[in-house]
Symmetry: C2
Subunit: 307 residues, 2 copies
């Protein structure tokens, strides 16, 4: 484990913020963790769970003296937070974040960053559908990817230090541009969440099938969509508002493809259906081969678990 930072400040203590705190504690990545949360309840919970050494009622207080500052609140809050914390940042500090969009983060944060502070946007690709300070655990980032999107003029040494931090949390680190990140995440994360939210909403509005029937028979596939549709509404609202172009692009393609499937069903074109379904299987096999999921049956929840 590399210890690059003495004092880490965590701004926003939800699932990701609390998981980072656990990972820092477990791997001894800092002497001191300060934290800021918007509500009294979360601040009290953060202390109770020993997530931080000191909890602050303003973000500016929390970042004061910190070597590494990690924004872990919904991305819609970053512009206001940036204005507030920038005067309190120590020269040489690294400012990063965990937001699910990166172009909008650069747009909202960069104009406020003073000379001498290293701003390196980041995004750990890890999560559960749980939220809040009690949802975190140290292993959340283990064997998951963390994408950093440093700007063209970023200090290589600062990027190295942040990379070492995420590796110490168990992650693999990849570097790309904010624009490319936003396209990749639009298809791998944002669109899946949007259509999961949508199908749950469609089901809730049916007249012919009751909500209790939908719930009762959800093991047929619906259940797996509700899991990701239970993710934090504020966070996801901000994701869609801040990655509009890439999400609309992917959604357009998805809808076109869905129309083609709809047409195949209407006209009884079994060959088209079979070919599309067969191809999907291959993608699944590749994900298992890449170590990003297990091959154990998970659907029936009764099968053997390999992890």
């Amino acid at each position: 484990m590399t210890r690059e930072f003495k004092h880490i400040a965590i701004i926003g203590i939800g699932l990701i913020g609390s998981s980072i705190a656990h990972a820092v504690r477990k791997n001894e990545l800092a002497d001191k963790i300060t934290g800021y949360a918007k509500t009294d309840a979360t601040r009290a919970k953060a202390l109770e769970l020993c997530l931080v050494d000191q909890i602050c009622s303003t973000a500016a207080d929390a970042v004061s003296g910190a070597d590494l500052i990690i924004l872990c609140s919904p991305v819609g809050s970053y512009a206001a937070l940036s204005m507030e914390i920038m005067p309190a940042l120590k020269a040489g500090a690294i400012l990063t974040d965990v937001g699910s969009v990166k172009g909008a983060v650069v747009r909202d944060v960069l104009p406020h960053v003073p000379a001498g502070v290293h701003f390196i946007p980041g995004h750990p690709i890890a999560g559960t559908e749980q939220s809040g300070p009690e949802a975190g655990f140290a292993e959340l980032f283990l064997n998951r990817w963390c994408i950093l999107t440093p700007l063209a003029d970023a200090d290589p040494r600062a990027v190295e230090r942040l990379t070492a931090f995420w590796r110490s949390c168990g992650s693999n680190v990849e570097i790309m541009t904010p624009e490319h990140h936003d396209l990749v995440l639009a298809i791998t994360s944002h669109l899946p969440h949007l259509i999961a939210y949508n199908i749950v909403s469609t089901a809730a509005d049916l007249e012919q099938v009751t909500s209790s029937e939908v719930i009762k028979y959800s093991a047929g596939g619906f259940r797996d969509f509700t899991r990701i549709a239970a993710s934090d509404p504020t966070m996801w609202r901000d994701v869609f508002l801040n990655n509009k172009d890439a999400v609309l692009e992917m959604l357009g393609r998805f809808s076109e493809d869905l129309s083609a499937l709809q047409r195949a069903i209407r006209w009884g074109d079994g060959e088209t259906l079979f070919n599309i379904f067969s191809r999907s299987r291959e993608v699944r096999r590749n994900i298992i081969a890449a170590g990003q999921d297990t091959a154990a049956p998970d659907f029936g929840r009764g099968g053997p678990k390999t992890q």
Copy 2:
């Protein structure tokens, strides 16, 4: 455990057929299991795994003398199978199936059923994305629902005996009409599978994002869709071809709702997004309350498991 049958015939030995065989063995629900599978390879595997006492190269041989016959092959095969097996059925035998659509099964099977044979369509709501004779396990049906759709003139005693069989496999049993079944399953199972297949297909066709990137970063949500999109292509082709009206109805509603979300994103309507996302959370909570899933984090695969 109730032992209602001496000789059970399983026609088609994939995930469901092999799981029924395991459940019959484990719970001692019959003296004898005969089986039929289309290919030499599956027939050999069924014997090797001791799934059946006798494997037959024709379905007619397999059903001969059986008290309970369970069709477990893709629903598209039922019409031809019915014609073949009906002359070989014993008087008083119960003929059922496990197909994911029920209206089309009644259409394809009922005209061939001779007097004295009890035809009771059924559908255990359980599965994994695995397929084939090696994928089965006895606990697949445990605490899952099994829907029976007896016709109006069905013999109540025969329905009772089949209900007892499924209860002995660990399932809860519900009775409804074939038409209502097909609507309920269209939203809880068929549409989820269709949109999962579709998003995987959309992702495979992108130019801006490579397939290896989709796979690498799939933990952000995409991964959970690929799991159900890895389900058996032949079975699912037959489902969509045989539940066309209900699937097209649900798909129409889904697409309308998705257009509304798309519009909210385009116009930056955060309130609409937040309200829809918040409501989805409630559905998830109700599914957990109904015992149809666990609340344990499953997304990151690193969280604690309660089951």
